[in-house]
Symmetry: C2
Subunit: 342 residues, 2 copies
DNA sequence: TTAAATAATGACAACGCTGTCAATCAGGCG
DNA sequence: CGCCTGATTGACAGCGTTGTCATTATTTAA
């Protein structure tokens, strides 16, 4: 029924050890032998038994995805991207949702991954943005790949997959400027998030590139939530700024905030996009489910995750061939929530 | 460092086989012995090696979650619920996202779970609603637990965790009736989904219970999408019905449809809830991120999933003690999108 | 051409657990 | 008190791989 390494060995006329060598892409196997074995593997549709591998070997074929993120669409995409890389490479995936705020969370995680003999971790924010955490993981001789916001890796701790929020934010802001807006509000996400900082930098850059004076009254500190968008937009429109300085556009740090801003505008009888343009960030499903639909920036999370996991696995396999860091720039998606400023 | 069964055996002064018996809750171990072993297990913080278990034993300690669902929040909740049950019981979880429409999907899935030596499957719609599929899985001697819509299991194939959408839909409709509405539109989800059928039944029941005549012009066939909600609401308001018969309330089969209906109402300058009450179903996060926020029905997906997985595991362990089927009724959550009909 | 060096291969013992079956123990009965 | 019965327990052989190290080809250098 299910072929074992023994069957392959017999069929190809070599020892099981040699088959093992071929399966693990070890050197020191003659090309001819390798081909014979591969043919047998194919014929028998042989796949190594993971349990046996884990038991016998010192190597591990498991990686983990440790996350704490309220955005289910993000998590699912990440997970599926990682999963596809794992399947491709014959790895197993351990899913580890957890509470990043919990006391001793680092120890808990180390416990879990030690017990499951995990060889590496894919980390997304907030974990990827905690150098101390990463160091502690690395100290356990566990490989790490981080997905984070920025253009270049902030340090040499691990390979990174960078998401260039700054450039994307600059592009969005430029889009608003191109539409004629000059008074552009900015509602930030949590200040602790790199993504917020990067998006803010992109916003500032776009202003500068267009010689638009920066006005700190147009900046609202917030967090990544609908509620925060509601409050931020209210402040921006009603409180903080005089009527003549009132923004004609708002760049929200993500779609959820933008949806909140939309909500607030509705409450105040402000028409979108005629009286106020609103842009989000993330291209989450509900950016298409607001009225009007949100202009936003799209990032290919599944592919990012697939990349990160592949990178991690090649680290584990010590195939240093692959380039160590890649970068993605989210793409502007123009929809109905932004419009020309009259 | 990591304790093995041998360490436990030595410490408690019994053979490793006896330790194994205790770990597997087998009978034929004297109470005193059992306690000695358990003490040693605790002291050494011993956890059996899963790889070795899988290799040596005929039993499997892996279950799988096979899904195809565009609703990430649903999937994440399910997954986390299943995961928590697995951790509790020392099981591993294999995540298997897939395309339920693909040709030969059943064979693909069987391949996957055979190779991973999966002992059981947690199934959600659409898979849980395909008796033929379930039969083919069961024919492989793989246990199944289904999560599905309804009040009682539709057959004896497997234990089920039922979600009583009918009663919940009746409650929502009753809520609308209590607010004074009598012309209540219904926008269906995909007709192939049990949940749609059940929610429709609940709607009809509520009408009947209140002696409100059923008007088929108020029923729109649709699917579970924002787009469908937009179109459905448009039809309901503008096309299908004369002005005097125009609905004053709409029950949408889920929140996404309701959000679409909200959107359409905006387009047509209809005020919510003054001129039109709209209710959704699911309590998805964006039901709190529309304007106004949606009245909906909430179901504890994480707990449902935890239950289902526990049930599955006890099936696998042949602990027939547990009750075979449980039922959950989603709870009405009143928010701003429904209001009194003047 | 031959010895030495190197590459390729194989034999065999783990890995940590469970299944089988034999051995031991406790208690009941004649 | 000895024997029988069933409940407990243990010895031992795998499970399907990989690591180690010995063995056998093959190549290189002299």
């Amino acid at each position: 029924m299910k072929a074992t390494i023994n069957d392959v060995a017999k069929l190809s006329g070599v020892s099981i050890k040699t088959v093992s060598r071929v399966m693990n892409k070890e050197p020191s196997v003659r090309q001819l032998t390798r081909e014979k074995v591969q043919a047998a593997v194919k014929e028998l549709n042989y796949q190594p038994n993971l349990a046996a591998r884990n038991l016998a070997g010192t190597k591990s074929f498991t990686i983990a995805y440790v996350y704490d993120n309220p955005n289910a669409y993000y998590v699912i995409d990440m997970q599926e991207g990682i999963l596809s890389a794992c399947r491709q490479q014959g790895f197993e995936l351990l899913i580890n949702p957890c509470d990043s705020q919990k006391e001793n969370i680092t120890e808990d995680i180390i416990d879990t991954i030690k017990h499951a003999r995990v060889a590496g971790l894919v980390l997304t924010p907030p974990f990827s943005e905690r150098p101390e955490f990463v160091k502690q993981i690395l100290a356990q001789d566990i490989k790490v790949v981080r997905i984070m916001s920025g253009d270049v890796a902030p340090d040499e701790l691990s390979p990174c997959v960078m998401v260039n929020d700054r450039d994307a934010a600059q592009t969005i802001t430029q889009h608003l400027i191109d539409l004629g807006h000059t008074k552009i509000g900015f509602i930030a996400g949590g200040a602790a998030h790199m993504s917020t900082i990067e998006r803010y930098k992109g916003y500032r850059r776009a202003l500068k590139a267009n010689n638009i004076a920066f006005n700190h009254n147009l900046i609202i500190e917030g967090e990544y939530s609908f509620e925060s968008g509601v409050n931020g937009a209210k402040k921006l429109i009603a409180e903080k700024v005089t009527t003549e300085n009132r923004p004609t556009a708002i760049f929200s740090c993500n779609d959820e905030i933008a949806a909140g801003a939309l909500f607030a505008a509705r409450l105040m009888n402000i028409n979108i996009p005629e009286q106020l343009a609103i842009a989000g960030f993330e291209n989450s499903p509900f950016s298409r489910q607001t009225w009007p639909k949100l202009t936003t920036a799209d990032q290919p999370n599944k592919q990012i995750a697939h990349d990160a996991a592949s990178l991690l696995i090649s680290q584990i396999r010590k195939q240093k061939g692959k380039s160590e860091t890649s970068q993605y720039v989210p793409q502007l998606m123009v929809r109905d929530s932004t419009g020309r400023h009259s």
